[in-house]
């Protein structure tokens, strides 16, 4: 496992434990014992169990519907098969890609053996090996040469050849490719050749010997007897096609799932904003999707690939990433305080028509309006505002609620641009070499920033929204009730922890940029292109759903209680709209695999030499109809099978989701 992940988990555990212990101490000081929270704990546990059992029940019900369709079961089986293959490719495959310097796992070394062997052909266990005559003649290397395979990847990650067992000698060629007499080499025993004097007299520094070897060592129990290697033939450069196809499943699944997931995320956010707010925003977003729809998908993706040509890594400035994390923490605290506010007044959100309830900024805006003469009803601006009263109210409400937060955002974006000065610059590329003092300064800066953010939030609440200080602290301590650990399983708390840990990591790195994607290679380029091409479809889908659900009574109820827009969108509307999303997601994985392999086929996708199905088809195309039908057929079948699996599954899911099937 990656060291970053291990560190991350460690930090997480340590942080959770220490905060928990601190909290217990705090509770004890306030006279609250562990036993006092027992009821709370029971309640929390019950809720957790209830929600999970509900989920299990739903899954069981869905499985009952799903089971009815044979096609969907076949799809599920195909997907499980392909994923299993991709996970165990290392064990199933006969040949392995050599990990080269770029550490691209699936890149194959181009072998110098230009032979294409048909599926199940006899020559599959032939191996070509070079013998360096120069070293034997001049450097005194032994005359007995061991038969070894090309270097393969071992378990510990290094490259080393395997010993082979010679059966018969097939042919010998000199460096220029001319056939030599087979008698110049003697098969000494099962594993070594003896180089005779005749061989040493051959012109050139190397000879190439081809021999049949015993395949027992590479034997796999699931293969038919006698055909241990290349059941699908070999590629143009003499590599086992079957192994390549196995490894190709990794790339295809990776692309399919990543792209579909990110596309769904992007499309959902944009679509729900568009559907929920409506009006000008909706119109703008929908016209944008029109533009995206107007250009056929593949051409659009190709254009994006071209546009991304020069991008080699995706990184955000360190200041921006720290700022985002801090902002997130601040917002979460704000929400916590908001939640506590419900005790004294029926609604968290105040009636802004009452001037007393306006925040400082809101009052300022209103005063500004009055000073511009908006009070007189004849003024054209006031006419506009009166005719759009609801809209105006919404704007004012937004401003009054978020005024301080907005000010903070503006302030810190300005500050963030100068943040480079705060970070001690360290020119060394080695992350570990950051001195303790610089780490400490950064950590201090971060901690002080977080405290500042939280203080400002509290300040905002106290002095602009008029909440009492005692109430705030009381509620805050209540929300962090340490006698009930189940509370920490809430999504928001976990997210705060994660952002704190990320902040610690950010404070450790010496670079001025935080790389989101370190190596933005060609694979990432097609993924990015497909994401940028795919989101409008989801945006429209979700927008339609949101428009439909928005009118339902439960949304109205949430609104009347005064829930914020974000909460209504993500907690009330989206959970009701997930069904068609899931279907589209599954179908999209198949579609993405198709388009990605299509892009690779025309040479815009993965690196040449990668075991990617589209590239395998493109490579095989030169030999296609007559001299190598298998080079195209099998990779294509692999694409077909995988896509078919996802499409069948998606079709089955559609049946589950269909309200007609709910029983």
């Amino acid at each position: 496992m990656n060291s970053f992940l291990i560190n991350f988990i460690l930090y997480f555990l340590v942080l959770t434990l220490s905060i928990f212990c601190l909290g217990l101490l705090y509770d004890r000081k306030n006279g609250r014992t562990w036993n006092d929270g027992s009821e709370d704990r029971k309640e929390g546990l019950n809720r957790l169990i209830q929600s999970w059992s509900q989920r299990l029940q739903d899954i069981r019900k869905s499985w009952k519907i799903f089971r009815r369709s044979i096609l969907a079961l076949v799809g599920l089986f195909l997907i499980i098969a392909v994923s299993t293959i991709s996970i165990f490719a290392d064990d199933i495959a006969v040949e392995h890609p050599y990990r080269n310097l770029q550490d691209t796992e699936d890149l194959w070394w181009i072998d110098n053996e230009p032979k294409r062997l048909e599926p199940f052909s006899e020559g599959c266990d032939w191996h070509e090996q070079s013998i360096d005559l120069f070293k034997i003649k001049n450097k005194g290397y032994p005359r007995y040469v061991t038969a070894v395979s090309d270097p393969v990847l071992t378990k510990n990650g290094s490259l080393s050849p395997n010993n082979l067992e010679i059966i018969t000698l097939v042919s010998i060629e000199d460096d220029l490719g001319y056939e030599l007499n087979n008698s110049i080499l003697i098969v000494h025993n099962e594993t070594t050749f003896f180089v005779t004097d005749d061989a040493l007299n051959v012109s050139g520094s190397k000879i190439w010997v081809m021999y049949e070897f015993n395949n027992e060592g590479m034997h796999h129990s699931w293969l038919p007897d006698g055909y241990d290697v290349c059941i699908m033939g070999t590629t143009n450069s003499g590599q086992d096609l079957f192994s390549k196809i196995l490894y190709g499943s990794r790339i295809s699944l990776k692309i399919g799932i990543t792209v579909a997931f990110l596309t769904v995320a992007l499309g959902t956010v944009i679509g729900s904003i568009s559907g929920y707010y409506g009006g000008v925003i909706d119109e703008l977003i929908m016209r944008l999707t029109d533009v995206f729809f107007a250009v056929p998908g593949l051409i659009l993706a190709m254009a994006f690939v071209a546009a991304l040509q020069n991008t080699t890594s995706m990184s955000l400035p360190m200041s921006a990433i720290s700022f985002l994390l801090l902002l997130f923490i601040c917002m979460s605290f704000r929400n916590i305080i908001d939640e506590m506010y419900s005790g004294e007044k029926p609604s968290t959100y105040l009636d802004i028509r009452n001037e007393e309830n306006l925040s400082l900024f809101g009052k300022f805006i209103k005063k500004l309006g009055i000073s511009f003469g908006l009070k007189s009803k004849t003024h054209f601006l006031s006419k506009i505002i009166n005719s759009n009263y609801l809209y105006y109210q919404r704007v004012i409400r937004f401003l009054s609620n978020y005024s301080t937060s907005i000010t903070i955002i503006i302030f810190f974006t300005i500050l963030g641009t100068y943040w480079g000065g705060i970070w001690p610059q360290n020119n060394s590329n080695n992350i570990d070499e950051v001195g303790l003092d610089t780490q400490l300064t950064r950590a201090l800066v971060l901690v002080s920033m977080s405290v500042l953010f939280i203080l400002v939030t509290i300040f905002d609440k106290v002095y602009t929204n008029g909440i009492k200080k005692e109430v705030i602290f009381q509620r805050m301590s209540a929300s962090v009730n340490f006698t009930n650990p189940f509370r920490f399983l809430a999504f928001r708390t976990i997210m705060i922890f994660i952002s704190v840990i990320l902040l610690i990591f950010v404070s450790k790195t010496s670079e001025s940029d935080f790389s989101v994607i370190r190596d933005f290679d060609r694979l990432w380029k097609i993924q990015a292109a497909l994401i940028l091409t795919g989101w409008p479809g989801y945006a429209r889908l979700i927008r339609g759903q949101v428009l439909y659900i928005r009118e339902m009574t439960f949304v109205e109820a949430a609104k009347s209680v005064g829930a914020p827009d974000g909460r209504i969108m993500f907690r009330h509307i989206l959970p009701s709209a997930w069904a068609p999303l899931l279907v589209a997601f599954t179908l999209d994985i198949g579609g993405t695999i198709l388009s990605a392999s299509g892009l690779s086929f025309i040479g815009l996708g993965a690196e040449p030499g990668t075991a990617e199905w589209g590239i395998l088809v493109a490579d095989g195309r030169k030999f296609f109809p007559n001299t190598g039908w298998w080079l195209v057929t099998f990779p294509g079948l692999a694409i077909l099978v995988t896509t078919l699996g996802f499409n069948l599954l998606g079709d089955g899911l559609r049946d589950i989701v269909d309200p007609k099937n709910k029983r």
């Binding site: 044979i70 096609l71 016209r287 944008l288 029109d290 533009v291 729809f293 107007a294 250009v295 056929p296 998908g297 593949l298 051409i299 659009l300 190709m302 254009a303 994006f304 690939v305 071209a306 546009a307 991304l308 040509q309 020069n310 198949g590 198709l594 392999s597 299509g598 086929f601 025309i602 040479g603 815009l604 589209g614 088809v617 195309r621 030169k622 030999f623 296609f624 109809p625 007559n626 001299t627 039908w629 195209v632 057929t633 990779p635 294509g636 694409i639 077909l640 896509t643 078919l644 996802f646 499409n647 069948l648 079709d651």
Partner: protein, 378 residues
């Protein structure tokens, strides 16, 4: 709303989208890491011209690359409107001329593929709705999903294999010239737009299925006598064009059949539950007549909308089929332009495909409005 008003409104709505596409293509072109000024002059960039500037500098001034970006966009749009779409570096000719040649090829292919795919998809859809949940329905649903899952480039090559080496009556003249290097000549043309033994006169519309009846007949090369002497009739030209078009169109048609089948099935199933179908059945009309006259005609109405999207899909699919079948259409042009980072061509291709797609959608919507007057009321 009257039909004319509807048309005008739709046309006006098109303008912002086309404008958006132009902004979009311009933005993409700004990001593409290619220097159009350097690409145009190539090795001669350092050569000093008569005006005291190097070729590169004069190219920069001619293309307006030294101006601010907004002004560059303005120049781009005005040039577009005046018909100057720039110079393609890859094809060494004006973009608009290349596109004028390429567009009919792709359009011809798309229309023919729709003409093949629609009957297939719709008839299968009708059958599978009529025999709902029977074996035929299950099989055809599976086939529909399988067709959607087919990688189009692979399918095209499989067809090349089947038709090019296995099926067909061999014409000895065609077979004498192997079309793919390293192979024996096939029996069915699997490559190119025409038989390479004659040149198709490019004096017509560009749609060669139509042109073959208009332009004058060329003579064909006879490899046995090494002379251009075989005279061709209009019919020969048409048959040859059609034979070459058949495989790419059939590939595209198969790819679009799956979706059509699904939609038709769903639409017909919905219609079969309607009251008027029940009434028709109650009147004692034969089941065949109920389905063909009462149900199918109504079920076809929503299918019309999919036609518009199918055209877009066909143009997208043409990227791959044209690459495989060596058709110099829009798809192949787009691939070449992007592989060689041909700045002007990428913008041109994107814009033209978008316009074609939008116009075809508009036509479809209009026909929809004519067929179903309810649409106009929106």
């Amino acid at each position: 709303m009257k039909l004319q008003e509807f048309i005008v409104r739709r046309l006006i709505l098109l303008i912002p989208v086309i404008w958006g596409v132009s902004v979009f293509t311009f933005a993409i072109a700004q990001v593409i890491p290619a220097d159009p000024a350097a690409a145009l002059c190539g090795e001669k960039c350092g050569v000093m011209g008569s005006n005291g500037l190097t070729a590169y500098e004069s190219n920069v001034i001619r293309l307006g690359l030294d101006k601010p970006i907004v002004e560059q966009y303005w120049i781009y749009v005005t040039n577009l409107l005046q018909g100057d779409w720039g110079e393609s570096v890859t094809f060494h000719r004006p973009v608009i001329e290349k596109l004028r040649d390429a567009a009919p090829i792709t359009l011809e292919m798309s229309f023919l593929s729709l003409a093949m795919g629609f009957p297939m998809g719709i008839s299968l859809g009708i059958l599978s709705a009529v025999w709902q949940d029977k074996l035929f329905d299950q099989v055809s649903r599976f086939v529909a999903i399988a067709f959607v899952s087919l990688p189009i480039f692979w399918l095209a090559m499989m067809f090349q294999y089947i038709f090019g080496t296995q099926v067909g009556i061999c014409d000895p003249i065609t077979q004498a010239l192997p079309l793919i290097p390293d192979t024996v000549g096939g029996c069915f043309p699997i490559y190119g737009r025409h038989d390479p033994t004659y040149t198709f006169p490019d004096t017509g519309t560009g749609f060669h299925l139509i042109d073959s009846w208009i332009v004058e007949e060329p003579t064909k090369y006879n490899p046995q006598t090494n002379q251009y002497e075989v005279s061709m009739s209009h019919w020969d030209m048409f048959a040859d064009t059609f034979k070459h078009l058949f495989l790419p169109c059939f590939t595209l048609a198969v790819a679009s059949t799956g979706g059509l089948l699904r939609y038709m099935r769903a639409s017909l199933l919905e219609v079969l539950n309607e009251d008027y179908v029940r009434t028709a059945r109650a009147k004692g009309i034969s089941e065949r007549r109920v389905i063909m006259v009462h149900a199918v005609r109504n079920a076809l109405v929503p299918i019309v909308t999919i036609l518009g999207f199918s055209i877009g899909g066909a143009i997208g699919g043409a990227v791959l089929t044209e690459t495989i079948f060596a058709f110099p259409g829009m798809g192949k042009t787009a691939v070449d332009a992007i592989v060689y980072l041909d700045f002007a061509m990428i913008m041109g291709v994107t814009l033209v495909t978008a316009i074609i797609f939008l116009l075809s959608n508009l036509l479809v919507d209009l026909s929809y409005a004519i067929v179903d007057p309810r649409v106009r009321l929106e």
